[in-house]
Subunit: 409 residues, 2 copies
């Protein structure tokens, strides 16, 4: 039986003519295997960055409608080139822009959301034996303007197309072999995971495992579209991300994610009254600064210490905002620490197992690693530690939870 | 009163960020002068060539639909950047692709013809004070595919938009100051022409004066849309190309054009019977080789010598075709000569003046320049000569017809 597969390739996978040829080979192989294939592409390598640089020379603060019109050309180039490469292999490749197909989005230029995907035209093409090659990352709004979905938006295009076409799975090709128990560059015992659930992937993804765009995973989870992350450079089955199934084994901990590009800000002596968190974080968000971890400690004398983390590039701006508002909160001290790393253990099995947190803290204590902050969710425990302990923390946690040993999940 | 002007800028005029800023200044000046302005752009500098080179790496013989999808990105980049540059000057610049506006063409990919220009959207934008910045060179066919108009097609887009919008004139900005009596690089007495007629421009254009695309002049002539050719680098009034007006002075000769990139092919001893020219030139045209001059001389014994010129790059291919067919025409000799130049004198006054041809031939004879071929039309006389005599021929003809002296045309 024919399987319909959406294959999405990222920028490094189509970075030059040679890479585009390799992608064409992969697609050709899948077609020969009897599959119906739809391809979604990102722009070639750093070409989008080059366009952004050019635009900044002309206008450092460009209108976002024009920004979108500009950067959307990157994918238009890669899809035309791949269609040509497929034709050389006697495959009926045919490029389409999101605009031509009618991938409708809202009007939030540079970070639009997909509203609707028209598939009539694609289905017709597929039934004629065509392999449609479609621009990721972009769409059109109701005014007929070109929109883009924001960095990594091609993943979302891939999933949205897979959902609309009722594909068997959406394959996201990237420059890594799949999702690992932890970053293999940080610990060589890291193991490729065969399967993870959407829920785990959401936690891993937002925790710094940058293989997949968060929004794409959310979208796939909502419509239960299986995603397979795999390498366009090396052969392999990659990692399948899908809805949790009762028959699945549940590893207590599936993986460890780490991030060392954040800074921690603390405002001390904040009055412990309702609404104070919103008053502190409101101006930070309005300045376009994304906040990751938020921790509020109960402190003495009806005041509290309020701590959060941001990308370290935003630390100076966030500090300035805190200093400005500090007076209205009693003039408490503002502290900034960029010398941190965040380590998270993620696993759907945690729900059913007590004692995971204490096992984690014990492992860290055995290595003399001091914990600065702790936050938890249902399937995740994160700690913030000193940056120079990051690698040691990953190693000791990976060993403590036996992540190098395969569970038949 | 508001004048509506379409301004088209070529690739060298928008080659980099600095040039785009200069174009934005020119547009801003015209808006400040009270004009309504619509801008049409080519792709930046050699960016289209770079895309073509990339595509050839992947597929030396790409599908033309994909070729068009690829190269059309060049103009999309330049229009977005110019819109940004205009916004920096507080002008409401807004980019549009031909696709977004509905510039309909036929389906002849890579050399499509414009069928229809929708102007409702542009008119709305203009009435809101917007300066629309529109991709030249491209359109869409009825299947919703992107098409391109062929090299220089942006001129045609400019004229077609000017006609559809009933503009006062279509200004074509380029890297030369306008149309000269001859190429100023070949003779320093060359003089900028204030006005030429469409008819003269058509002859000059097709004869090698590459300031304007032939098709654009034809289009403008058909709809009597005045074109002004001017420089985006230097201030000046340029050259106005318009319908002949009875009040105009008629210079006998307006200009001299020259071309030294052709080769001459002769098939000797062809039977002098009806249909023979078509039999010879049919296979040449089918091979996609463009033919310029065609001359057939009456010869002895019911045979004739058949001569034509092609671009010298096509000479080898054309020779091969002639050799193949030579047998069926009695096995006559095939001769190829790439060492030629073609010089043409063009002027609407020729019609009313006898003796222009003999004056031309006399001037050439005085310089010992041998004429290899002669062809004439109503307002043009062309001669083919040895290539190394080209410059001398231009100088002596320019002097003989007093082209350095201004006629108040």
């Amino acid at each position: 039986m024919n399987k319909l597969i959406v294959k999405k390739f990222g920028g490094t996978s189509v970075a030059n003519a040679e890479r585009i040829e390799a992608v064409a080979d992969l697609v050709a192989k899948s077609v020969e295997d009897g599959n119906e294939v739809v391809v979604v592409l990102s722009a070639m390598g750093k070409s989008t960055d080059d366009l952004i640089k050019l635009s900044k020379e002309i206008n450092p603060n460009p209108d976002l409608r024009e920004y979108d019109a500009l950067v959307s050309t990157g994918e238009q180039i890669s899809v035309a080139l791949l269609a040509m490469a497929l034709q050389k292999r006697n495959i009926k490749g045919k490029s389409f822009t999101a605009y031509q197909l009618g991938i409708r989005t809202n009007s939030m230029h540079s970070r639009a959301r997909i509203l609707d995907v028209q598939v009539k035209k694609i289905k017709e093409e597929i039934s004629n034996g065509v392999v449609p090659v479609i621009t990721g990352f972009q769409g059109m709004n109701d005014e007929g303007d070109i929109t883009t979905l924001g960095r990594g938006g091609s993943d979302t295009t891939g999933v949205a197309l897979a959902v609309a076409l009722e594909a068997s799975e959406c394959q996201i090709y990237t420059d890594v072999d799949g999702v690992f128990t932890t970053d293999p560059r940080l610990y060589d015992k890291a193991r490729l995971l065969k399967k993870v659930t959407f829920e785990e992937m959401l936690e891993l993804s937002s925790m710094g495992a940058k293989v997949l765009q968060l929004r794409a995973v959310e979208y796939a989870s909502k419509y239960q579209m299986p995603i397979r992350v795999l390498s366009s450079f090396n052969a392999g089955e990659g990692t399948l991300i899908e809805e949790e199934d009762e028959s699945m084994e549940r590893p207590i901990v599936s993986g460890i994610s780490s991030i060392d590009s954040e800074a921690k800000l603390t405002l001390r002596g904040v009055p412990d009254i309702p609404g104070v968190a919103a008053k502190i974080l409101g101006p930070i968000s309005e300045a376009g600064i994304e906040i990751d971890v938020i921790v509020q400690n109960i402190s003495a004398e009806n005041t509290t210490d309020f701590t959060f983390t941001v990308n370290e590039d935003d630390a100076v701006a966030a500090e300035a905002i805190l200093l400005e508002m500090s007076n209205s909160f009693g003039g408490g001290l503002v502290e900034v620490d960029s010398d941190i790393a965040k380590i998270s253990i993620v696993g759907r099995g945690m729900r059913a197992h007590a004692g995971i947190a204490s096992k984690m803290f014990e492992a860290l204590a055995n290595e003399q690693i001091n914990i600065l902050l702790i936050t938890t969710s249902e399937i995740k425990i994160s700690v913030v530690i000193k940056r120079d302990s990051m690698k040691d923390a990953i190693v000791c946690l990976h060993d403590a939870f036996d992540l190098d040993k395969e569970l038949d999940n």
